[in-house]
Each structure stands twice: as C-alpha cells, then as structure tokens.
C-alpha cells in the first residue's frame, strides 16, 4: 500500500514550516540557558557566604570596555548577516572580521582580568566560595565565547576563500543566533557578578 494521497485544495502548495537550523539552534540555546541558570543560581546563593578570602567588592572592577566590545559585536554580526542576505560579500567579510576581532578582544580582556585576580589578589577557583563560583560562571561563558569565535573564524576562512554566498545566509543567521545568545548571557553575568554581587 503506498502513501496516502488525499489531495487538499490549497494547503499542499502553501505548506511552509520553519527552517530546521533555527529551530535546532533555539533548542540548543534553551538547553544552554538552563545550564547557565544553574551556575547563576549557585553564584547568587553563595554571595556573602565565603568563609575567608577576597570578596567581590575587594577585587572586582567593572569590565566596561570589554563589555562594550562584546555587545557591539552583536550589532556587527547582525549587520554582517544582513549584508550576506543582500549579496554584499565584501561588506559581509569586513563586518564578520570586525565581529571576530571584537569577540577576540573580549576574551583577551577576560584573560587580563584573570591574571590580575590570580597574581594580584590571590583569588583562584579554590580560594573560597566566591572564587569557585566566579571562575566557574565567567569561565563557562568565556568557553562559549571561545567556541563561538572558532566557528566565526571557520566561516571567515570560507569567506576569504571565496566560497560563501547568498545561499549560505540562513546558516550564517543560525550562527549569529548563537552569538547573540552568548552576548545575552554576558548581560546576565555582568549584572549578577559585577553589579548585584558587589
């Protein structure tokens, strides 16, 4: 017995469902949000409960510049994706590389801050509850930025080799969804760690 063929007057031709790449990335973002939520909960729960050692107020400085870098990279990646849709390959490449540079500088800023905390203030992941929760949360975020950056650079390589065109714009958009997510997480982490926590 072969497939059912009860033809419908109209819906068969106008049957359009969402793009699976976006749905899957939305699913991944939801799952990752849950992971970050748990780390944020642990961070908030342990605020003020360290038995010893430096407190957030003692050692944390607002990373304003690097935050601006990361958040503006959301804008640049959005513009890059739009350029690719409109087949403006050159503009796309420029904006994409700018995004990567901004993301890279954010990671550099995180590394600098950690060096200062470790060597300047003696705060490590094992120092006290603050150290444990801080490095875990910020580190988890930085890990996600790193993975995103690697993906950005891969796309940049293909673009530089002239292999990227309009027909890839949906996939590029999926990657930019991930990048926006990473930025949104930073907004939360920044607020919790550097604003509320101090």
């Amino acid at each position: 017995m072969s497939a059912i063929t009860i033809p419908l007057p109209d819906s068969a031709s106008s049957w359009i469902l969402p793009y699976r790449g976006k749905v899957a990335m939305a699913g991944l973002i939801i799952a990752e949000s849950a992971i970050f939520t748990i780390f944020v909960v642990a961070y908030l729960f342990y605020l003020g409960k360290s038995l010893t050692g430096p407190t957030p107020r003692d050692v944390l400085e607002l990373p304003i510049f690097y935050t601006i870098c990361l958040l503006s990279s959301s804008l640049t990646i959005h513009l890059a994706a739009k350029s690719l849709e409109r087949n403006r390959g050159g503009l796309f490449l420029g904006l994409w590389l700018l995004t990567s540079a901004l993301g890279g500088s954010f990671l550099y800023g995180t590394a600098r801050e950690w060096l200062r905390l470790i060597y300047g203030h003696g705060l490590t992941i094992s120092t006290n509850l603050f150290g444990t929760t801080y490095y875990s949360l910020v580190g988890l975020h930085a890990f996600h930025v790193t993975v995103g950056l690697i993906m950005l650079l891969l796309v940049a390589i293909f673009a530089l080799a002239g292999r990227l065109s309009v027909k890839h714009s949906r996939r590029v958009e999926v990657l930019s969804m991930y990048w926006h997510f990473v930025d949104a997480v930073w907004v939360v982490v920044f607020t919790v760690v550097y604003v509320l926590g101090r």
């Binding site: 059912i4 049957w15 699976r20 749905v23 849950a34 642990a42 360290s50 006290n128």
Partner: protein, 557 residues
C-alpha cells in the same frame, strides 16, 4: 535484510558479507536503524541491570546474609539505578521515538541524521564508560571501583574526602557524556516535529506519539542540563579544588540536592511521557475507537511538563526545609496528579464503548492502567509531607517508584514492542509466548512490588546491605526476591520471543493491527526512504479516512 528481497526465479542474489552489514550499521544515519540500535543497546543493559537487581535481592533474601560484601552491594544498587534510568529506559524511549516519529509525521528521516547518529554513540559510549569503572575505578590507594554513592550521588559523599579513587568520576563523566547525547536527540526530535511534518499535518493533527515526544524533548532541554551543570560543579570540586558542595568551606550539601532533583523529578516525567504516548497509540487501536479527548490529552501533557518543574523538593521533605517550603511542594505535587489522572480517565474513556481486543499489546496496556493508577496514588500519599517523613527513604518509596517505572513504563514499553515489532521486522511476535511473558511478568511484578510496600511501612530504610532479624522483615524480603526471579524468567521468555519470532514469526504485512497512523501505510519494514511520495493528510487518522471514505475523521475535526 533478506526478507525485503524480491525473489525472481532464475536469479541468484549475492549474499552480502557480514562485515559490510556490520559497517553499515555502525555508520548508519538512518533514523530507523538508529532506533533499532538504541533499542538493542537498551535490551542488553536491561539484562545487566537486571542481574544487578537479582544480586541485590539475593543478598536481601534474609537478614544477616553475606552473599556479597557491603562494598559490592553498594555498587550494585548504585549501578542498577544509574543503568536503568540512563542506559535502559532513556535509550529505549529515544529508540522508539527515533524510529516512529518521522514515519508518523510523513517525513523521510529526522531533521539532522548525523546529529542523530552522534547522539546515539554518545549515549552508548557513556554507558560503556560507566561500566569500565568496574575495571578502571581504582585510583590512588587502590580505593574505588564502580560507583557506590547511590544514583543521586549526594554531596558530600562524592567529595574527594569520602569518595576516594575514581568511581564517582566515572559516574559523573558517563552521565555528562550521555546527557549531551540526550540533548542532541531532543533537539533533533523538536526540529523534526516542528519542521518536517507532511502537508496537511497541522500540529493539531499530529499523532499523540509525536506530540508527547515533542513535549518530552522540550523537558529534556531544561531538565537534563541542570544535572550536567551540577556534574561540572562536582568535577570542579573534585579536581580543581572548588567548593561548590564543600561543607567545610561553607558550601552546601543541600544545593546539590536541589540541583539534582530539579533534574531528577522532571526526569521521571521525561520517562513516563513517552510511555503515555505508547498508550495513546495502542489503546485506541485495540479498543477500535479514537483516543478520547485528543486536545485535552495534549493540554494535560503540557501541564504535566510545566508543573513537573515545580515539584522537585518533594524528594527533600526530610532535609529540613521550612514549613512554607514543605507546604509549597506538597501542593504542587498534589496538583500534578490532576492532569495525570485526567489522562487515565481519557484512556478509560477510549476503552468505554469500544470493542476491546486482548492481544498482547493490549494486555500490557491494561496492566499499565491499573499499575500506574496505584503507583500514582501512592505518589499522592507521599506528596503529603508529614506522611512522607515516615515513608521517605524507606522501601515504600522504592516500591512506589518501581510501581510507576516497571508497572507503568516497562509495561508500556513491552506493549510498544509487541505493537511495533511487526513494523520494524516484518514478523509478528508470538502471541503464545507473549501471553506467557505477560502473565509471568505480572505475577512476579505484583509479588515483588505489592509486598515491598510493607517493609517500608514497617521501617525498613533503603540502600542497606543487610538488616537485623529482630525487625521482622525476613519473610517479606524473601517473597520480594522470589517475585524478582519470576520477573527474570519472564524477561527470558520475552527475549526468546524476540529472537524466535525474528526467524519464524508470521509475516506481518503493512498493517497487521488495522491501525490508523501513517507508519502502517508503508511496508514492514519500511523502505529506507520511508515514503515514495510524501503523504498529504486531512485528519488525525489518515488511514481511517482511507479505509472509511464514507465516514472520514476529517468531517468531525
């Protein structure tokens, strides 16, 4: 496989070398093959975890027994629980979902076939990693072996100080790895159901199997991940000197409990919802009526998914939360009984006025209905916190959850086997062996788990390798053990049925049960591409419409 082959007289077919078949299966991205791989993997580990259960039961057969040492016993109950939940039930449910969801929505495969394969292998290798602990768990001082911290791995028992060697790390890493596999499959199912439905199959026309697996997958995304997060924290504690759960540094053991149960409670609904899906497909077909109240069945499932995220601390009633917290979790745990109960009533309503056929799938489904009713009610009893202060951590709880997991989920899984094995293999399972399987398992199940409530009520705690004769628990434990062995025999009958029927079973044809969903419109087993032409549907039961053109469902929906 040769049963698919057309025989043309005078033409001799070449036999494919077995290594080629093996290679095909190892590298497959076909959802049907991956589904079968998941199911076979789960069956193998069912046997292993079943043996662990029998070891537990032999040791507990009478007081002061020494069949195994306390160290071995503690590993047995830890591995039994961990294996059953993560490497038996989850894989078998993902296996059926993988096989059936694309077929039921008129698609040719899952949305991401390679991710599908990757997720399966993550799960499979996670299980192997867990079992490698028996060999590799010896760390410094030669301490450690398979994990022995219970499947909840409560802090601070898992801290370096109390859990020397690497046994706890095997637990953590194996579950992290397979957890990522589960998340991958969940993303795949969601993308498939949202994006690959055939024309005409609006969400309100999807089979409940597709709906419920969609809901389950959504839950996986937000329930498995808290466990992954907590496990990363545990690794930070054990290897980087972190203090997440280090009570000596001001850390909280209760925080682990919260994180674990925020995963652990929705997890059991993740396990039961696909079982509900099986029931929602099987009970209608063998009652010869459509499912009663389709919209409410969907709504109730979504309600269960949401409410299940708010009940977790009913596993922590004895931990010393304040009375307001305990009251909150009491009410939410009672509230979740409402949509769950509604589903039972809807299945009853489906059977009511029908023409029930007592084939093996329906026998197991009826068993499910009775047992899930009872298990659900003992759950409501434990939702009342004061009652739970006595019942928690005792064999009453063990009886309750085995009632819902074995009496509920496993019975539903057996029903699913008998119902869909013909589709997957082209052969019917033996009804005779099926009935032997059913009755033996039913008797063994009730002997074990009905009786098990009693030692719990009498004060027998769980996770003890032996007990004192003066407590009077001996006879009860002996009966429980006998029931366990009867269940073991029933499983052997089942496995025999699976194997024997593969070679000797009656040919199934496309639609042996006269059913109504799209998977029954293709051959058994289906061709690799599922559908030659993507179907177009106009109702929830496309094959009913086809078989009854004078009275199609599309007229009533």
């Amino acid at each position: 496989m040769s049963m698919n082959a057309i025989t043309i007289s005078g033409v001799r077919l070449e036999e494919k070398p077995w290594v080629d078949t093996l290679h095909e299966w190892l590298t497959t991205v076909d959802h049907k093959r991956l589904g079968i791989l998941y199911i076979i993997y789960a069956l193998l580990l069912l046997i292993v975890a079943g043996i662990e259960a029998l070891i537990i039961r032999i040791q507990l057969m009478h007081s002061h027994n020494n069949f195994v040492s306390p160290q071995v016993f503690n590993r047995m109950f830890t591995m039994h629980g961990t294996t059953m939940i993560f490497f038996v039930i989850m894989p078998v449910l993902f296996g059926f979902a993988n096989y059936l969801v694309p077929l039921m929505i008129g698609a040719r495969d899952m949305a991401f076939p390679r991710l599908n394969a990757f997720s399966f292998w993550l799960t499979a290798l996670g299980g192997l990693l867990l079992y490698f602990s028996f060999l590799g768990g010896n760390g410094l001082y030669g301490a450690g072996n398979a994990p022995d911290v219970g499947w909840w791995a409560y802090a601070p028992l898992t801290a370096r100080a109390f859990s020397t060697g690497h046994s706890s790390d095997y637990w953590t890493l194996a579950l992290l790895v397979s957890g990522f596999g589960s998340i991958g499959t969940a993303i795949n199912i969601i993308a498939t159901v949202v994006c690959l439905r055939c024309p005409g199959m609006k969400l309100t026309r999807m089979p409940l199997m597709a709906w419920l697996n969609l809901v389950m997958s959504g839950m996986v995304l937000i329930a498995i991940t808290p466990l992954s997060a907590a496990q990363i924290m545990l690794l930070v504690d054990r290897y980087l000197g972190g203090h997440f759960f280090d009570t000596q540094a001001g850390g909280s053991a209760v925080l682990w409990m919260h994180f674990f149960w925020i995963f652990g409670h929705p997890e059991v609904y993740i396990l039961i919802i696909p079982a509900f899906a099986f029931m929602s497909e099987i009970v209608p077909v063998f009652s010869r009526k459509p499912i009663f109240g389709y919209p409410v069945m969907v709504a109730a499932t979504i309600a269960i998914a949401f409410v299940s995220m708010s009940v977790w601390a009913h596993h922590m009633f004895t931990v010393g939360m304040n009375s307001y917290a305990n009251s909150f979790f009491t009410i939410t745990s009672m509230v979740i009984a409402v949509p769950t109960g509604i589903k039972i009533f809807n299945w009853l309503g489906t059977m009511w006025g029908g023409r029930i056929q007592f084939k093996t799938p329906m026998l197991f489904s009826i068993g499910f209905l009775f047992q899930f009713l009872i298990g659900g009610l003992t759950g409501v009893m434990q939702a009342t916190a004061p009652f739970d202060w006595q019942l928690s951590l005792s064999y009453f709880v063990v009886a309750h959850f085995h009632y819902v997991i074995v009496g509920g989920i496993v019975f539903a899984v057996f029903a699913a086997f008998y119902y869909w094995y013909p589709k997957m293999t082209g052969r019917m399972l033996s009804e005779k062996l099926g009935k032997w399987h059913f009755w033996l398992f039913l008797i063994g199940f009730h002997l074990t788990f009905d009786v098990m409530h009693i030692p719990g009520l009498l004060g027998m705690p769980r996770r003890i390798y032996t007990y004192e004769p003066v407590r009077g628990w001996d006879t009860l434990n002996l009966i429980i053990t006998i029931g366990a062995f009867i269940q073991g025999i029933a499983i052997l009958v089942f496995v025999a049925n699976l194997v024997v029927s593969y070679f000797n079973g009656a040919q199934a044809g496309n639609d042996p049960w006269d059913a109504w969903t799209l998977e029954w419109s293709v051959s058994s087993p289906p061709p690799a591409y599922n559908f030659a032409f993507i179907p177009v549907v106009a109702s929830r039961r496309p094959l009913w419409d086809q078989k009854h053109p004078e009275d199609p469902d599309s007229r009533y929906e």
